[in-house]
């Protein structure tokens, strides 16, 4: 291996795995800052806290890779969640309530997909419209009031299986599913191709509209599951819940290396992005950082991540002379 190859390899490792170095560094710094940070319970708390946002972020990752995004996920989560809680109160069936959440979120996302594929609405606008509509529907359905006394519904978000909190199990399973979809299916390859260059993808025989619709449907399933977990965790049906969660999800995806210009991103990167935010939030509270300062730090991290993303991408593009990369 000559020097040029070695440099290229090192630079590839740097650009591919740097996010995990950042995560590891943050972990060590947090560990040194506060002894409680590494307790099993604290790490399990952090994982539980980020689970809902991360599941939404998996959906965002798929959409962003294909050159789209979803601003409606927080609102659709709330609509799916309150309908699910309400159906549980009516039927007493956990299974039915779970299915109701998924169907609701999938329908909302099919509408998103229709607006984007059939009517060529930019995803930003289509999902912005859905954000308002879904929140309105959740509020209208509940008359703006929370639904309480939800009984056994809490098992979804507060239960444990072999000592592992259920939201963490959901997050882990969905990580594997998202990774598999992106890496090992035709759908995944099509997603990267569309995000890299939509016209080229179309010319090479990929059904762009169908793939985009599929991406929204998968996002819907993820949002529905997140809705069930959220409502169950807060022990109530909250039509005002999860406001701003779409931005949490976008943040995790972007910090994790998903590129807004499409064609680049991984599920594990997104998970790392979510953990970076989770570690930061946790350690800042543990060491008692001022609440206002916390917001500044969070914002700075997002800015740095995007700057890094653009910088790394420019370098790669120069090296690869414009070829589409599907990591």
């Amino acid at each position: 291996m000559n020097t040029l190859d070695r440099n290229k390899l090192w630079s590839d490792i740097k650009s591919k795995y740097s996010i995990y170095f950042v995560l590891a560094a943050l972990f060590v710094i947090s560990w040194l800052s506060n002894e409680n940070f590494v307790s099993v319970e604290n790490l399990s708390n952090i994982s539980t806290q980020i689970a809902v946002g991360t599941i939404l972020a998996f959906g965002q990752t798929i959409l962003i890779i294909s050159g789209m995004l979803d601003l409606s996920s927080g609102s659709v989560l709330a609509l799916a969640g309150v309908l699910s809680v309400s159906s549980y109160k009516m039927t007493g069936s956990l299974l039915i309530s779970f299915i109701v959440a998924i169907i609701t979120a999938v329908i909302c996302n099919m509408l998103n997909g229709l607006m984007v594929t059939r009517f060529k609405t930019p995803p930003f606008i289509a999902t912005l419209a859905m954000m308002t509509m879904a929140r309105g529907a959740a509020l209208m359905y509940t008359n703006g009031q929370n639904i309480y006394q939800i009984g056994n519904y809490v098992v979804f978000g507060q239960g444990k299986i072999m000592g592992i909190p259920t939201p963490v199990i959901f997050m882990a399973v969905l990580l594997v599913v998202t990774w598999y979809l992106l890496k090992h299916t035709i759908f995944g390859r099509s997603i990267y191709a569309i995000g890299g260059n939509e016209e080229a993808a179309n010319a090479s025989g990929i059904n762009v509209n169908k793939t985009k619709m599929k991406a929204f449907i998968i996002n819907g399933i993820l949002v529905g599951i997140a809705g069930v977990l959220f409502m169950s965790r807060v022990n109530g049906g909250m039509p005002n819940g999860a406001v701003g969660y779409e931005f949490k999800a976008l943040t995790a995806a972007v910090i994790g290396g998903t590129s807004f210009s499409g064609g680049i991103g991984t599920a594990s990167g997104t998970l790392a992005g979510a953990f970076i935010v989770g570690f930061l939030d946790n350690i800042m509270v543990l060491v008692g950082v001022n609440s206002y300062l916390q917001q500044i730090v969070r914002g700075a991290i997002i800015a740095l991540a995007v700057i890094y993303d653009i910088w790394a991408k420019t370098k790669r593009t120069k090296r690869k002379h414009g070829s589409v990369e599907a990591k």
Binding site: M110, M140, Y148
Partner: protein, 331 residues
């Protein structure tokens, strides 16, 4: 075929949302206008801060319900969407549309002040509520005093919280009149009197249950001993309690809130929460409509009043559970 399946699913979702099958939907539209009596019917605009805010929604529903009891009042509800611009625009529209009375639940009192003054100058009777905009001659107000709401809890906590206790504090959104006044009250009426008490964690959870849960989970890791949760509203107190409810280490934890929500009274009944003070939307609504009626009939020119903020503890919680049962919030 696929297209039809999609359409059928969409229609069924819309139908289920619109019929609102399980919720006890309070009348969202204004009550029918009873003009049969032949008396003058007064047009009242109720401009809510945000229908998406659960207390504001409860208040708007209560106002609509109460207005139904008055034959001489026709009430329309408008949503300020937690946005100063929107709310100010709604006040201007109400002036243009010549409402007899405008009730304003401000999003931010100072931002709405000039518009309320404009309405008063146009000869319209204005009532501000939750929170009042004070110092506008000619306008009336009905409110609950946020300082007092926290103080009734503080008075109990001063004797209840053990010596050298560790406490955590959950704040509402910074700059919010009620959030700031309640925190101020806790400072003057509790912390200044109990200098032995240590705050081991204080964060802004923006009235939200899920944010409060996250903070509490972290505090529990950092502190073996937390004796009390001091929250500026019930939602956040409930969130913190959700974290420690099954943890034997915290079984004697005290928890204080404000609002008297359905969830809080149930937690007090179960012995998990210590106390809250009631900010009753029903009382506010009753007083608002009574004030409206007195103003339009000319019985009085200007009214400024506060509703009570009774303390709810295990001893008297049953009557408040009954109140929420009547409203359909508790089954």
């Amino acid at each position: 075929m696929k297209k039809w399946i999609v359409i059928a699913l969409i229609v069924s979702l819309m139908a289920s949302v619109l019929t609102g099958c399980s919720q006890p939907a309070a009348p969202a539209a204004p009550a029918e206008t009873p003009e049969a009596s032949g008396d003058k019917v007064y047009k009242v605009a109720y401009i809510a801060r945000a229908q998406a805010d659960s207390f504001a929604a409860w208040l708007a529903n209560a106002v609509v319900e109460e207005a139904g009891k008055y034959d001489n009042i026709k009430l329309d509800v408008f949503d300020g969407q937690a946005n100063d611009d929107t709310e100010n625009g709604l006040i201007e529209n109400a002036i243009t549309n010549k409402y007899d009375v405008i009730i304003v639940q401000p999003n931010n009192g100072e931002a709405q002040r000039p518009y309320v003054e404009k309405a008063v100058a146009a000869g319209i009777k204005v009532i501000t509520t939750n929170a009042r905009i004070s110092g506008i001659p000619g306008s009336s107000s009905v409110d609950a005093d946020p300082y007092m709401q926290a103080k009734v809890n503080c008075d109990l906590a001063v004797t209840q919280v053990p010596q050298n206790a560790n406490v955590v504090v959950l704040q509402g959104p910074p700059g919010n009149f009620h959030a700031d006044a309640r925190r101020d009250s806790w400072q003057k009426e509790f912390f200044d009197k109990r200098t032995d008490v240590k705050i081991v964690g204080e964060e802004i959870a923006n009235w939200n249950k899920d944010e409060a849960m996250n903070y509490m989970e972290t505090w529990v890791q950092a502190n073996d001993k937390i004796d009390a949760i001091i929250a500026m509203n019930d939602n956040m107190a409930a969130g913190a309690l959700e974290v420690v409810k099954d943890n034997p280490k915290f079984k004697d934890i005290l928890a204080y809130g404000v609002d008297g929500t359905a969830e809080a009274v149930l937690l007090i009944k179960d012995g998990l929460m210590t106390s809250t003070s009631l900010q009753s939307a029903y009382d506010l609504a009753t007083s608002l409509l009574d004030t409206t009626n007195k103003l339009v009939t000319g019985a009085e020119k200007e009214i400024n009043m506060d509703i009570d903020c009774p303390l709810i503890t295990k001893d008297n919680v049953d009557q408040y559970i009954e109140m929420h049962k009547k409203a359909g919030a508790i089954k």
